[in-house]
Symmetry: C2
Subunit: 568 residues, 2 copies
Amino acid sequence: MKQSMTLIPTLREVPADAEIKSHQLLIRAGFIRQNASGVYNYLPLAKKVLHKIETIVREEMERAGAAELLMPALTPAELWQESGRWYSYGPELMRLHDRHERDFVLGPTHEEVITAIVRDEVKSYKRLPLALYQIQTKFRDEKRPRFGLLRGREFIMKDAYSFHASQESLHEMYENMYRAYSNVFARCGLNYRAVIADSGAMGGKDTHEFMVLSEVGEDTIAYSDSSSFAANIEMAPVVMEYPKSNEPQQELEKRETVGKKSIDDVAAYLGVEKEKCIKSMLFQVDNRFVLVLVRGDHEVNDIKVKNLLEATTVELATSEDTSKIMKCAIGSLGPINVDFEAVQVIADHAVASVVNGVCGSNEEDYHFVGVNPDRDFKVSQYADLRFIKEGDPSPDGQGKIVFAEGIEVGHIFKLGTRYSEAMNASYLDDNGRTQPMIMGCYGIGISRTLAAVAEQCNDENGLVWPANLAPYDLHLIAVNVKDDEQRFLAESLYNTLLESGYDVLYDDRAERAGVKFADSDLIGLPLRITVGKRASEGVIEVKVRKTGETLEINIENLVETIAKYVVK
Amino acid sequence: MKQSMTLIPTLREVPADAEIKSHQLLIRAGFIRQNASGVYNYLPLAKKVLHKIETIVREEMERAGAAELLMPALTPAELWQESGRWYSYGPELMRLHDRHERDFVLGPTHEEVITAIVRDEVKSYKRLPLALYQIQTKFRDEKRPRFGLLRGREFIMKDAYSFHASQESLHEMYENMYRAYSNVFARCGLNYRAVIADSGAMGGKDTHEFMVLSEVGEDTIAYSDSSSFAANIEMAPVVMEYPKSNEPQQELEKRETVGKKSIDDVAAYLGVEKEKCIKSMLFQVDNRFVLVLVRGDHEVNDIKVKNLLEATTVELATSEDTSKIMKCAIGSLGPINVDFEAVQVIADHAVASVVNGVCGSNEEDYHFVGVNPDRDFKVSQYADLRFIKEGDPSPDGQGKIVFAEGIEVGHIFKLGTRYSEAMNASYLDDNGRTQPMIMGCYGIGISRTLAAVAEQCNDENGLVWPANLAPYDLHLIAVNVKDDEQRFLAESLYNTLLESGYDVLYDDRAERAGVKFADSDLIGLPLRITVGKRASEGVIEVKVRKTGETLEINIENLVETIAKYVVK
C-alpha cells in the first residue's frame, strides 16, 4: 500500500486524555481515533492488525473443532427474559426498541441466542458435542470507559459456545480450548498467563482467564516465581502452615484505647505487632450476619467467604445494621461475647495461631489484650478466607507468590446447565430420556488483544509489532521522492517486494526525511528499508525495528536479506 | 469440515413464511435462521459464503485504490444533527441512548462518521484523493422486513467513501469503482446489469445501481434487448420521434360523456384510440401547482417532473386543492381554458403529436373532442415526462426496451459536497483557499449478494453455488459409515483432498443414503464425491451438481478428475 493512498494520521504530541501507553501509541501512530467515549474508529493500520488476529483465532478455533457462524447484534428481549439476564444485567446492557416498540438488546455476549439456535435444531445426543464460534462486534455500556480499546463500549469479540451430553465431553472441549487459547496468544507474541479465575456473575465452576502481564491492568494476578501457577488474586488459595508461638497464655484483659481505631494505631499504641491483632469484620451474607476474623496483617477476601458459605451476596454490614446487631460501631467490632443466635463467627486459618492477641471489645475506646482464640471466643469454622500476599508460598508448593497487573484477553468457562435449563435446551440421551445440554463458553477480546500487544510491545520511539501481527511486514521509505533516482528505485523495489509476497507499506509522501523516519518508528513495522542518497549506487539501508540493527546492502541482496528477518 | 461437527439443519418442507426461492432455500439448506423479524443468524454454511464474498470485495476495493478501516455501529447523534439526517431520516433510523441519556444512532450508512474522520485528519489537497471502505453490520428499521436477507433490519454492507479536490478526480474514482463493482458481481457468478438509477433522497447526480436480474425484486429495470443499456424504469429516458398524422384538424367540440371518467371508458365511449386521448394530472410541485399532460397510453413519471422543475417535492394534488384551483374534480381535468396565473401546464413530447384528440373539460360529464395542442391550449414546455414502456426504442438507439425485476446489490454515487458542506469538511487548495471536499460513496450489500446468488443459482433440488462462492468446493459422502471399508476410504480421501488444498465438507453422519443425497443437492456444492458399495474395488462416484453429469472413477484418478471441475 502506498502511504499516500491510505490514512495514517500520526501525532507528535501525547494525547491529553490517554492515560496508558497502548492508548497513547495507538492514537499517536494513527491506528485509532475516538468516535464517542469508549467507541473507536479502527483506522487502516488497526484494521490490518485486527485481520491478522482474527485469522489466527479462526485457525485455532477450527483446529479445536469449532465451526464459525454469525449471530445478530440485535437480540429480542424475550430471549434475555427467558434466561433471566434481562432483569439481572443492569445498566451495562444496551437496550433499545424498534419502531413497533418491541424491546431489543445489543448483545454483550450471545449465550441466549446460541442456546435458542441449538435448542431448536439439535434434539439428540447423536448431534453432540457441537462447538460454534463467531467474531463479532459487541456492546457494553461501561460506566467509565477507559484505557482506549481496553475498556470500551463497542468492541470486537470472538465468542464460542459448546454443547455436550456429558461432563467428560465438556472437559475435553475445555482442554481443546485451553490449548487453542494458549496457541492464539503465543502466536500473537504475548507474554501471558492462564490464570485460575473467579467465576463472577456467570455462576459456573471451572474457569481460566488468559492474562497479558503488564504494568497496567484492571486485575492483579498472583503468580509463582518458579512455576506456572497463576491466579487472579481474588481466587488464589492460601496454602500454608502458620507457626504457633510457645509463649504462655496471658489473662484476658480490657484496655482503654481512646480514639485508636485502625489496626495500625491500636498495634502501635499497645506496642504489639499487627500479626497479633485480630481484625473483625461484619458481613451481611444473604439474609444473615457473619463476623469474619483475619489477622491484622491480612485482608478478608469476600469471594472466599461467599464460596465457603455458598452464598449469593456478601456485603459489608452497614453501620445501622452493625449497631443493631452488635450494639457498637464498625471500628469496635470483636469476637468476644458475641450473640451466636444473631451472628455466626468464622475465621481465617491464621487467626488460630494467634497467642495473646488484641481484638475489639464491641465497646468504643476499649480493646481486649491477652486474647487467645477458642479460649476467649468461639469460632464456628476456620477456613482460607484471606487474600494471598506477595511472598506467601505458591499454592502448588513451588516458589513464592509475586503480583503483576494483568490485562484479560481471554476467558474459558464451564457454564454447565445455567442457560440450557433456563431456556429449556435439552436433548434425548441414548435411553430416550430428556436431559439438559451441558455448555461451555469461551471468549477472546479481539480489539483488546490489539491493545494488549501495543501495551506490551513498544519502546521510547513507538510501537514494535511482533511479526505475526504487524499491519505490514516492511516499511519501504523513499527519503526524497522528488529525486527521480530514489523514487524510481523505491517504486521498483516496491513492486519486487509485493511480487515476493510481502505486505509492504511504501512511504511515497513528499515529507521530510525526519518526519518519515519518526513516523516509521512510531508505526513500528518489523523491518524498514530506506532508499536514500546511495540509490544511484544501488545501495539501500535495512533497519530492524526491534533491535535497531542497521545494514547497508546492495539491492541485489534485498530479498535474501529480508527473508532472514521476516518469515513468510 | 466433518458434517457431524458443524450445524447444517436441513428441512424437507418449504417454510410457510418464506415467499421467494432464495429465502426458502437458504432456510431449507440450513444456511440461515431467523432471530427476529428481519434479523437473521448466519449459520456456518452462510458464514463461509459471506467470507468468500468479502474476500472478493476486499481484493477489488484494494485494486480500486481504497484502504479498509472499521467505523463503529454506535454513532453519536451530534454527527447526524450536523448533517441534518437526524431530523430527516425517519423511523428507519434505529436510535438509542446510553446510560447517561446521550443519544446514539445505529448506523445504516456512515457518511457522517467518515466525513468527521477525514475532516479532522486531512487538511490539504496534497492528501487527496483518499478512498476508504469498511465491511460492517448495518441497521435499518424496515417497516416491512421481507424476502429473508433481501430486506432485513440488520445486514452486512461494504460501504466506501472517497474524498476529492476536483470533479475529475471524483469521476476517475467513480470509474474505478464502476469497474471494481463489475468485477465483484462477475466473480460472484451473477447475471447483473449496471443501471442508471434515481439519486433518490441522497441528492446527488451521477449514480448507478448494480442490479441482479431476477423473477422477484423490488425494482423494475428497463434494459435494451440488444445493448448494455439499463436503467431503473424511474430514470430511463424516452428518446423517440412520434409520427404526426396528416389528418386534417377538426373543430373543437364539447361532448357529453356522462359517467365516463377513465381513459379506457372515455376512449371506448367516443370510439377513439387511447393514443388520441390526453391525460391531465394536477401536481403540487413544492408550493405551486402544475398540470402535467401525457398521452392516454402513457404514465406520468413524477421523478422526471421533479427533475425538470428542479423541485424538492412533487405530489398529486388533493381533491380539495384540485377543486379550489381548477373548479372541478380530479377525473375531469383538462388543459383548455386553464388559468395560467394559477397553474403551469407542461406536456410530454408525445402529446405534441396528437391530432384531433380528446381531453377533459374541467366540467363533470363532458369531454372535448377535436382537440389540437397549441391551437386549443398552451403548453409552457414539452419534455420527456413519461415512464418508458416495453417495446419503446432503447435510448442508446440500439434495440428495444424489455423490463425485468432486479435485486439491487450495489450502488455507486457521486455525493458532491452534500456532507462536506454541512459538516465543514474542507481542505486548502494549492492557492491556500478553503474548499469543501468533493465526495463519492459506494455500497455493496454483502448479505444481500448472498441472497441474490441463491435467488439466481438454484434448481428444483436446491441451491447450485457458483464455484467462487460455494461454502465448500467438494461434498464427500460416505454412503454407509457403519461399513468399515467405506468409512476408511472416505476418511483417507478426506485427508488427501484437504492436503490438496480443497475445502471439503465430509458427510460422516450415520444417516440413510437418501437423506445424505437429498441434503447434498439442497446444499449445492459444485462437486459431490460418493464413497459407496464399490469402495472395496477403489471405485467412487463424482457428480457435477450443476449439470448432473456423473462419473465412476478409480480413486487414483480422483485429484486429477476434480482438477478438471474445480479450479484452485
